[in-house]
Structures are given as structure tokens and as C-alpha cells.
């Protein structure tokens, strides 16, 4: 049996979900017999592959760039998993929503800056007015809430998804877990 191609994607999040993913420790080695991580902040691939079996997405959609990325990921993935509360619910990145991006940029780059007070305008992507969970942009197949979902959650969920075993997500994790 050929290994399933797995990608992990990092949008607007703290990378804690990726850390928790790595916290599976030696159990990753077992999983590695079944999957290949073909794209991830943790590996050295630059472009999202054309065909991926499972894509795990961390982070909310907060910028124009995030929006492009999530649409590309969806187009090239068979199964899309929202990994963690930011991807599932917006979470911490969405806490700026009541104030709007201008206020946040002002606060970060002007009020709180001691030198070179200016809002960056080149290279960095444009922020969306509202930070939203990924399912508001693309269809999501599996939601794994948690901040972050525990290593056990990752292990159980991925094993189930790879082997086709039944999966009860609410028994594993919850918002803020």
C-alpha cells in the first residue's frame, strides 16, 4: 500500500498546533509507516503539491495571503482538516474583530513602537477586515477543536482517518482544550 500524502499548513496561528503534532513523539514513527509528510512548515517543500490526501490546516484566515493559500490547499487536497481552534473558530487571531485591523496596526506599529513608527506596506500581505475560521472560505471535512488539540487527539484522529476507523471527535477534544 502506498503511503498517504499528508500536508500541514500554517495560517494565522501560533504554531502551537504544529508543536502539539510533534508532541506525538515516537508515535510519529508508527504513523510514518502509513503517511508521508509532503508539505509542512516542518519540512523543506516550497510549493503545495498537486495532490495531497490529507491536509491539516492550523490558523485562521486573517490576510489576503491566507485566503489564497486556503483556497489552493482545498483545491489540491482530498481531505481537509481544520486543526485547532484558530482554524476551527478563529480563536485568538479573531479577537481583533471587534476593533478592526486599523486599530490593531496602529497599536502595534505606532503606539507601541519606540523606533521607526510606520505601518509596513510592502511585502507583507494585506489584512482582511474580519478574521474568520477556514470553513467560511472552503469546505472543511474534519474539525479538530482544541488550543491546541492534544498529541493524543492528533494520534487518535490521524490513525482513525488513515485506517478508516470510526472517529468521535467530541470524545477526544473540545474548544479551548
Amino acid at each position: 500500500m502506498s503511503k498517504l500524502k499528508v500536508a500541514t499548513v500554517w495560517l494565522d496561528g501560533c504554531s502551537g498546533c504544529h508543536m502539539s503534532f510533534l508532541d506525538m513523539d515516537e508515535r510519529i514513527l508508527e504513523l510514518a509507516k502509513l503517511i508521508d509528510v509532503v508539505y509542512s512548515p516542518l519540512v523543506d517543500a516550497k510549493d503545495f503539491p498537486d495532490e495531497v490526501d490529507i491536509a491539516l490546516v492550523e490558523g485562521a484566515v486573517a490576510s489576503e495571503d491566507d485566503e489564497k493559500k486556503i483556497k489552493k490547499v482545498r483545491a489540491h487536497s482530498k481531505l481537509l482538516i481544520a486543526m485547532g481552534d484558530c482554524a476551527v473558530a478563529g480563536n485568538v487571531p479573531s479577537m481583533r474583530n471587534p476593533f478592526g485591523p486599523e486599530a490593531i496596526l496602529e497599536r502595534a506599529y505606532i503606539e507601541n513602537a519606540s523606533v521607526q513608527q510606520q505601518i509596513p506596506c510592502v511585502v507583507v500581505p494585506k489584512l482582511l477586515k474580519i478574521v474568520r475560521p477556514i470553513h467560511e472560505f472552503v469546505t472543511v471535512d474534519v474539525f479538530l477543536p482544541g488550543c491546541p488539540p492534544s498529541a493524543d487527539t492528533f494520534h487518535t484522529a490521524l490513525t482513525a482517518l488513515v485506517t478508516g476507523a470510526p472517529l468521535d471527535i467530541s470524545a477526544l477534544t473540545r474548544f479551548g482544550a
Binding site: 489576503e64 496596526l105 505601518i119 489584512l127 477586515k129
Partner: protein, 551 residues
């Protein structure tokens, strides 16, 4: 006051009126007033005073066809003049006894001929601030007859026999409700009149309270006698200042005549009525919220049971009926239950007052027998859709109701028939829409109304109506998706089934009924980003870039 005294008063009013050869009735309802009916009346009085004819100029309540106002009716000829202003006064007075003023005459025979007036029988015929005018038209006869010749259970029997159902919207059998309150134990009981009319486009109850306030008071007094109550409240919204002042005058005059107070008509029956002003919250039309508001608490509904009939105002058994329901009582007591039951359809008896508004020639107040076809109300009585446009739908029941499409115009108006097509009778608002109305936008309008009028107590109504509004706005702005539509339907289902009170339970009706009959309009908005009626502005969608901010 006794029946003999009552007849004496009626007689003297008639004698007084006989002194005049002509009666010039000026409609002084809000719609005519806003077009200068008060200046018109002054001018008419001046012209009448200057002339040598014996002319009585009388202000009256709403005559009906508000869009033709200000209205003047000259009796005994029953000549109706429309769009009258103060400048016409002299011409009208001059014409009395001769040929009518041709340029002011209007032909509204079709409008009036199909109507049957029970609740509005006095509208346009009496001065609402003169109790004697009401007495002269059989006023308070029913109350005194009930007090002296009928037992309380006899009154309830007559109401039950009439088949009258609650006119506030629910359609609960009035006799049954009265019977329940009558059977409830306890010394102290209350009668409450719900005058918190709040549906957009509805003004039936306002017109009744303003045009014939004694009719409501008499109905309440008869109800109080039947159920054994000694205290009544009329709950009127403060936005109806004219109704409040007319009711206040009416209550004062009624007390002066001994028709309210203790030992009415030399019987042991005591009853008095107080007015309570509402701050205009739509939800206070819901009976438990209304009672909370009268008690001085936040106007929020409570789960039923217990029903107010068992535990209402301050925990006491309380009868609560709508203005129009009370307005039907005196004629039923006077003429008998069978007389009333002979009008209307199988399960909806009597007549119903509707407020016709929207894209229709004769906007205003009409009273029709139950069972009449919608088509007759709209095309004949209402005079059809004006300006060459075509009829699209009629919205009944206010924000709790639904839109009924053209192909269903042959539907007979009754509680059950309207319910069956996804709308409700409601309190009687009828908003006519033509091809320039966007049904998605209409649904959004009513949902927005429910959202702002939700009391906020239960989650499905508080948060659900806000979500419905968001989803409908997306569709109207051209950013809606088919998934949004599915979400909307699912949401409607939950709000309808789980809300605490009628406001929430019926809030999805405008969406569900437009989805049922005008789904293509939703699809046009979502798929083709196009509003068929040309109402919705889809530009927001075109400039999607606007949601990004430079970083």
C-alpha cells in the same frame, strides 16, 4: 344609570340632531388629520355658522378609505367627498340642499358595498368624544341588558354561541377563554384589553380606540361581569396619544354616567378601568409580556402554562382580549350569538377589520365578513394595484405572517385557511406588494423588525433573528451562497420550534413563506447576483476589495 335613563339620553340626542337639516361629518382620524382635517372642520363650522341653513358639523372616527382623505360625508344624503381641504368648506355648505359639489364627489361604492360593518358600525357616524352619540346608537344597552337580564354564564354562553375567536392574531375561541377565567377561583380577577398594536402597517385597533372608544369599554365591562372581574386595564402604546386621550375622556364620561364604578345600574356589579401606557415594545403585545409590563416589570414573556386565565396580573386570574375582540362583544350581546355566527365561514365567524396598505389604490380600513376571498378584498374593495403595475403578493399577519402569492388570491380569508398557506390572520394588517417589491428584501425587512423587537430572553429568538438578518443581508447584498440559504432554512426551523413566545415562533414565517412561493428570487440573488425587482443593491459584492486593509 338604568336602561330607561339610557333611552332617555338616546332620545334627547335624536331630538337635538333633528334640529339640524344637514349633518356634515368630518373624518378626524390620524390620516385625515395629517392632511388638514382639523383646519377643514374649523372652516366648515365657520361656513355653517355664516349660512342660514341648520348644519351640524361633527368630527368622527375613521371612515375607512384613508388614501382619499380628508373625507367628508354629508347626511342625510350620504354624499361622500374626498380630498377635501379647508378651501372647499364654503362650497360644501353652499351645496347643502342642492346638487353635490361635483369635483369632490368620489365613487367608492364598490369599496363600501362589499363591506359588512360590525366593529366599525359607528365609525364615521359618532363623535368619539361624546358619550351621548354612542348611547344614541344603542351604546351601553348591551351592558345594561347583560347586567339586568342575563346571568354571567348566560353572557358567556352567548359569546360561545357566536363563535367569536380572538382578534389579536391567535384566534383562540373567546367564549372558551371567558369560561376558563369565570371558573378560576379567587375573589380578585382582572380584565385586560390588549391595545398594544405593533405590526408594521396595522392600525385597526388604533382606529377603533380613537373612533369608538366606548365600544371597547362596554365590551370590557360585559366581559368583567361575565368572568367576575372588578378591575380592568387598557394597555395602549404611548405612540397612540389620540387613542389615549379619547379613551381617557371616554372613561371619565362613563364614570360620570355611572356606567363604570360601583353598583353599576343599581346592581351589585362593580367595575372600573385604568389605562396603562406601553413604551412601544412589540413583544408587549404578547400577553405574558403585556401583563409583566402592566405590573411595572420588564416586558418579557413567560413560559405558559400557567396561562393568564389561571395566573395573570399579580398572580390573579386575568382575562386578556384584543381591542377588536372587545369591540365585537356589545353587538353580539345585543343581537344574539346566532346573528354573529351567521356571518363568516365555517370555523371563523363574524367580520374582520383589515388595514389595507402598500401598493393598493384604496389604502385604509375595511371590515369584511370572514371567508371573503382575498381577491375581492384586494381587487374590488382595495381597488387593485395602481399605476399599471401587477400584483405580486399580499402579506398578512405582520412580522409573524407570510406572503401569499397571486395564484392564491381565491383563498377565503379565515384563521385556518391563512395558516394552511403559511401565513396567519394576525391582528389584521394586509400589505399589498407589486412587481416592484423584492421578496427577499421584504423578508429581510420583517426579520429585521423581529430582531429589533425581540426581548432578548430566549436564545433562539434573540440570537437567531440576528443571524437570520445577517444571512438575508448577505443574500440581498449579493454575497450570499447556497450554503447560506441552507443555514437560513435550518435556523428558521429551530427558531420556529424552540422559541419561548409567539414572537420567536413566528419570526421565520416571512422567510419561510417567501421561500415557499418565491424561491426563484432567492436563487436569482445568490446565483446570478441579480435582484429581479431591482430593489437590492448588489454593488457591495462587486467591490469585494473593500474588505481588505493595507498592512
Amino acid at each position: 344609570m338604568t336602561i330607561e335613563e339610557l333611552e332617555q339620553v338616546a332620545k334627547s340626542v335624536c331630538q337635538e340632531n333633528e334640529k339640524y337639516d344637514f349633518e356634515v361629518n368630518v373624518c378626524m382620524d390620524l390620516a385625515c388629520m395629517s392632511q388638514g382635517a382639523d383646519r377643514l372642520r374649523e372652516a366648515l363650522e365657520k361656513a355653517a355658522g355664516a349660512s342660514d341653513k341648520h348644519v351640524l358639523v361633527r368630527r368622527t372616527g375613521c371612515m375607512g378609505p384613508c388614501s382619499s382623505g380628508p373625507l367628508v360625508r354629508v347626511d342625510p344624503e350620504e354624499t361622500l367627498y374626498h380630498h377635501v381641504n379647508a378651501g372647499h368648506a364654503e362650497a360644501i355648505v353652499a351645496s347643502l340642499g342642492g346638487a353635490p359639489v361635483p369635483e369632490l364627489q368620489c365613487d367608492l361604492n364598490d369599496h363600501f358595498d362589499r363591506q359588512v360593518r360590525v366593529v366599525l358600525e359607528n365609525a364615521g357616524h359618532i363623535d368619539p368624544e361624546k358619550i351621548d352619540d354612542y348611547i344614541a346608537r344603542d351604546g351601553y344597552k348591551a351592558l345594561l341588558t347583560a347586567l339586568t337580564e342575563m346571568t354571567p354564564s348566560g353572557v358567556i354562553h352567548r359569546i360561545t354561541e357566536s363563535g367569536l375567536r380572538g382578534r389579536g392574531g391567535g384566534g383562540y375561541p373567546t367564549g372558551l377563554k371567558w369560561g376558563t377565567v369565570a371558573k378560576a377561583g379567587g375573589e380578585l380577577k382582572y380584565v385586560v384589553c390588549n391595545g398594544d398594536e405593533g405590526d408594521p402597517g396595522a392600525f385597526m385597533d388604533r382606529s377603533v380606540m380613537e373612533g369608538d372608544p366606548h365600544r371597547v369599554i362596554e365590551g370590557m365591562a360585559i366581559a368583567a361581569y361575565a368572568v367576575g372581574a372588578s378591575k380592568g386595564f387598557i394597555y395602549v402604546r404611548a405612540e397612540y396619544p389620540v387613542a389615549v386621550s379619547r379613551l381617557t375622556t371616554a372613561l371619565r364620561d362613563t364614570r360620570r354616567r355611572g356606567l363604570l364604578g360601583s353598583g353599576i345600574c343599581n346592581t351589585p356589579f362593580n367595575f372600573d378601568v385604568e389605562i396603562r401606557l406601553g413604551a412601544g415594545a412589540f413583544v408587549c403585545g404578547e400577553e405574558t409580556a403585556l401583563l409583566a409590563s402592566i405590573e411595572g416589570r420588564r416586558g418579557a414573556p413567560k413560559p405558559r402554562p400557567p396561562y393568564p386565565a389561571v395566573s395573570g396580573l399579580w398572580g390573579k386570574p386575568t382575562l386578556i382580549n384584543n381591542v377588536e375582540t372587545f369591540a365585537n362583544i356589545a353587538p353580539i350581546v345585543r343581537n344574539g350569538g346566532k346573528w354573529f355566527a351567521n356571518m363568516g365561514s365555517e370555523r371563523s365567524k363574524g367580520t374582520k377589520v383589515f388595514a389595507l396598505t402598500g401598493k393598493i389604490a384604496n389604502t385604509g380600513l375595511v371590515e369584511v365578513p370572514m371567508g371573503i376571498k382575498l381577491r375581492e378584498i384586494i381587487e374590488v374593495i382595495g381597488g387593485g394595484v395602481p399605476d399599471g403595475h401587477t400584483f405580486k403578493a399580499v402579506q398578512t399577519g405582520g412580522p409573524s405572517g407570510g406572503c401569499i402569492p397571486a395564484e392564491m388570491l381565491d383563498l377565503g380569508v379565515s384563521y385556518d385557511a391563512l395558516m394552511a398557506v403559511g401565513s396567519i390572520m394576525g391582528s389584521g394588517g394586509m400589505i399589498v406588494m407589486d412587481d416592484t417589491s423584492c421578496m427577499v428584501n421584504v423578508a429581510r425587512f420583517f426579520v429585521e423588525f423581529c430582531m429589533t423587537e425581540s426581548c432578548g430572553k430566549c436564545i433562539p429568538c434573540r440570537a437567531g433573528t440576528a443571524q437570520m438578518f445577517t444571512l438575508l443581508s448577505r443574500i440581498c447584498e449579493g454575497s450570499g451562497t447556497m450554503e447560506d440559504l441552507d443555514l437560513l432554512v435550518s435556523l428558521c426551523n429551530t427558531i420556529k420550534e424552540t422559541s419561548l413566545c409567539g414572537l420567536g415562533m413566528t419570526a421565520p414565517n416571512p422567510v419561510l413563506s417567501t421561500l415557499k412561493y418565491f424561491k426563484n428570487e432567492y436563487i436569482e440573488h445568490i446565483v446570478h447576483k441579480r435582484c429581479p425587482a431591482g430593489v437590492c443593491n448588489m454593488e457591495a459584492h462587486a467591490s469585494e476589495v473593500s474588505k481588505e486593509v493595507l498592512a
